[in-house]
């Protein structure tokens, strides 16, 4: 047990998987000699050699297609997109081939795509996105969005073990900002089980990724008002923990869905719709969403701050709900 950053937990977890399973290898742009754009695979090539830590050409199509082929041949590739934004280049191979192979031919495609995502550091429109909902819509893909170092390591192990293509969204803004106790032993964190980040009985916030912390801070401010906010960290979007969400909604009756992704068609819409379908008679207020506006992520720091939901935005939303 040691305190590790979110990034260190991912790095250590990946190394642990590579040590225990020779089928696991990594590939991506600059993951080898350079150690990865964010240094997640720093020192990996020295330990595992150039054939298990593979520098690829600058072609996301080639990376995902190659990973898919390797998976079909029995390996467990972990492919890194330098930024999650770039996965759109690999859309065809990911969506048309990898996601459907299991249904077409019955063959599993155990690939893990590591997708450094999210904004908050002026990365601009090409390096800050949270495209999870685009892929949540594709049957056959699993979507993981850890918020804590402990979950990052455990969910990465589950992703690598999973026989399906898993998109592992690791939030860049959490990489070095968030620290937590992480077991040195190997463990897996199951998919589809939400984590109660903060227990409460008056309002439910459903969120994931970096917004878990935004929600947590907002909840503390509401506590000063005497309003007890529960924060649910979904941890995985596909599959997502409907039971935990519905249980919390039925108990609290007022719910806020929060995400850093843009609003229209964001995964929050799916959650809100499910609540309306399954827990309508338990609602005491309209389901409320707070999300980024339907626009690209701005580069300018003040604009980016205005764009990404901030603690004050969530506090205002929660207060409105509480007063409803």
């Amino acid at each position: 047990m040691a305190e590790k950053t979110y990034l260190q937990a991912i790095s250590d977890g990946l190394r642990q998987e590579m040590r225990r399973d020779p089928r696991v290898f990594v590939l991506g742009e600059d993951v080898g000699v350079y150690g990865g754009a964010f240094k997640v695979t720093h020192g990996f090539q020295e330990e595992f050699g150039p054939w298990r830590v593979l520098d690829t050409p600058l072609s996301e199509t080639a990376i995902v297609a190659g990973a898919t082929g390797a998976a079909l041949m029995g390996l467990r590739p972990v492919a890194e997109m330098q930024f999650a934004d770039f996965v759109s280049c690999a859309w065809d191979h990911l969506v048309t081939i990898a996601a459907k192979q299991r249904w077409r031919a019955g063959t599993p495609v155990p690939i893990t795509l590591r997708l450094p995502s999210g904004g908050g550091f002026s990365g601009g429109p090409f390096h800050s996105q949270n495209p999870e909902s685009s892929f949540a819509h594709i049957p056959g893909l699993k979507i993981v969005c850890p918020a804590t170092p402990e979950d990052a390591k455990g969910l990465l192990a589950s992703a690598i073990e999973d026989p399906n293509p898993v998109l592992f969204f690791e939030h860049k803004h959490l990489y070095r900002r968030i620290k937590g106790e992480v077991s040195d032993d190997r463990y897996t964190t199951p998919f589809g089980e939400a984590r109660v980040h903060r227990a409460g009985d008056d309002l439910t916030v459903i969120t994931w990724g970096a917004m878990v912390y935004t929600a947590g801070e907002a909840a503390e401010k509401l506590a000063a008002d005497g309003v007890d906010v529960e924060v649910l960290d979904l941890r995985t979007l596909i599959p997502w923990d409907r039971e935990a969400v519905l249980e919390s909604v039925r108990r609290c009756s007022k719910v806020l869905v929060l995400h850093e992704d843009t609003r229209t068609g964001g995964f929050g819409a799916e959650i809100a719709a499910t609540i309306a379908e399954e827990a309508f008679e338990y609602l005491d207020a309209p389901v409320r969403r707070i999300a980024a506006p339907d626009a690209p992520v701005p580069f300018s720091p003040p604009l980016e701050k205005a764009y990404i939901p901030q603690v004050d935005d969530v506090v205002a939303g929660l207060r409105e709900l509480a007063a409803y």
């Binding site: 205005a306 409105e320 409803y324």
Partner: protein
């Protein structure tokens, strides 16, 4: 100057299970101006009677549903045209113009009035510049259609489960809306009145100290009976003069008011105070009047020497309480004797259905329960009471009392009764004429058990005066179906059964 589009006024959804409503009164007539949220009309539904606030401001252009008509939820009742726009009523043009110049077309008002949209904030036209704030949806409670009576799904469900009228709850939410916490607190506090009916219920008749509030010795249906729409309402075309105030006399004449509460009540005199009728009170009022209008009520009474019952009860009391935790009340004894008898007197346990008389071999026994502080009545039903022995009946009665007290009665618990017993004797009353719970044809009333000097025969056949526990029992029956001799026969057997009570009968 455009004031946007016309606004349609629709029949609001007044509760989860309410599918239709009746227009009871138009407060605005075609041609009259109306402000946003100003009361526009009154409606009546199974659950509540309420005012409908105007969803927009302007002029009442059309009234599409007349007073007395019952329509489905969502039906368009009227159209509000923007002030200044061509109204179908040509008359008060000048007045309209004045209004149109005044507070009219703030876009915000229009947006709120025209349609309830939760997504009206940012988010749409933003390709040119990034919006400076995250997109949030704002719940506008004040524009949510039903105005002050808006009931959220969870509040509607809790209200239905507990038989509570949400309108009776003080709301702390936006615009005075009743929140989930409000209604839960209200129910917990017992203020709903659905609680402690046990006093009035008085399973322990003679030992019961008279409670403060006299419960009406009557029976009634649960709060939401299948209220028939206003019968034979001439669909008053309301040829209203363009008067600025609603012409009350016309309305009153055209409407065979379903309730005694007249809409044009005179002003309060000094010292008088008024309160809104709860839905339950309206339901009770409607049912009482309807029952008296339906059945030919006649009441007969018997005096019953309960000596043997008193002894039997003393014998059983300890065993019942120790072994089963149930108190064998006098009411349970009377209920047991009644239920045993009813199959032999099928017309007392019958119903007039159209031109037919319906009898049945089973007894679904209603037990009238008065609510706290005169707040209403409820008649939970013991299904298939004929299958229960004394213990089972006593237990069922206690269970109903308990659940009535804790507001745990379910809708099924208060439906389908075939005969009812009401027990106002806990207050010491010795006689009453209960009102039959429709569509039944009989209701038994039990009264105070009192010790009285009573002429009995001694072992030599001589008349002597003894002290005996006497109970008066009445049968109020519908003389359309039950004749005096028939009811007398039933009562005679009931008296004999109680006076000759055999211990084994339990």
């Amino acid at each position: 100057m455009s004031t946007g589009t016309q606004v349609e006024v629709v029949m609001p959804q007044m509760g989860v299970s309410v599918s239709e409503g009746t227009v009871t009164k138009w407060l605005k007539q075609p041609g009259e101006t109306v402000a946003l949220d100003e009361p526009l009309l009154e409606i009546s539904t199974d659950k509540v009677d309420t005012e409908v606030p105007s969803p927009g401001e302007g002029v009442v252009a059309q009234v599409l549903v007349q007073e007395g008509e019952t329509v489905e939820v969502g039906t368009v009742l009227a159209v509000i045209a923007p002030a200044g726009a061509g109204s179908t009523e040509a008359e008060p043009a000048a007045e309209e113009r004045v209004v149109a110049d005044a507070p009219v077309p703030e876009p915000a008002t229009q947006a709120a009035a025209a349609e309830v949209t939760a997504s009206s904030s940012a988010g749409e036209g933003m390709p040119s510049t990034p919006t400076p704030a995250p997109v949030t949806s704002s719940p506008h409670v004040e524009s949510a259609g039903n105005g002050r009576t808006f009931v959220s799904p969870v509040v509607a469900r809790i209200a239905a489960e507990h038989g509570v009228d949400p309108n009776a709850v003080a709301g702390t939410g936006q615009g005075g809306r009743v929140t989930k916490k409000d209604i839960l607190l209200y129910i917990e506090s017992g203020a709903s009145g659905v609680s402690p009916p046990v006093e009035a219920f008085a399973p322990e008749v003679p030992e019961q100290a008279p409670a403060a509030a006299p419960a009406p010795p009557v029976s009634a249906t649960p709060p939401a009976p299948e209220t028939p729409p206003v019968p034979a309402a001439a669909p008053a075309p309301a040829p209203t003069p363009p008067a600025p105030t609603p012409p009350a006399p016309v309305v009153a004449a055209a409407k065979p008011a379903p309730l005694p509460a007249a809409p044009h009540a005179p002003a309060l005199a000094a010292g008088e105070s008024e309160e809104a009728m709860t839905a339950m009170r309206r339901g009770v009022a409607e049912h009482m009047r309807r029952s008296l209008d339906t059945s030919a009520h006649v009441t007969s009474a018997i005096e019953v020497d309960m000596s043997r019952v008193v002894v039997a009860r003393e014998d059983l009391k300890q065993e019942f309480q120790a072994t089963h935790g149930v108190n064998p009340t006098y009411l349970a004894f009377v209920a047991k004797a009644t239920v045993e008898l009813l199959p032999r007197w099928p017309y007392v346990n019958a119903e007039i259905r159209g031109e037919k008389i319906v009898t049945r071999p089973f007894v679904h026994l209603g037990i009238a329960v008065a609510l706290d502080e005169g707040k209403g009545l409820i008649v939970p039903v013991i299904r298939n009471a004929q299958d229960l022995n004394l213990l089972g009946l006593a237990r069922s009665i206690a269970d109903l009392a308990q659940r009535a007290r804790t507001k745990k009665l379910l809708p099924d618990d208060v439906q389908g009764g075939t005969f009812t017993i009401t027990n106002p004797g806990g207050f010491g009353t010795f006689h009453g004429t209960p009102v039959i719970s429709q569509p039944q044809v009989g209701i038994l009333g039990t009264y105070a058990l009192v010790k009285r000097p009573w002429v009995v025969q001694d072992e030599l056949g001589k008349d002597v005066i003894a002290i005996r526990p006497l109970m008066n029992i009445t049968l109020t029956y519908d003389h359309r179906l039950v004749d005096g001799a028939y009811s007398g026969g039933f009562l005679k057997e009931l008296r004999e059964r109680l006076e000759d009570w055999e211990g084994s009968s339990g």
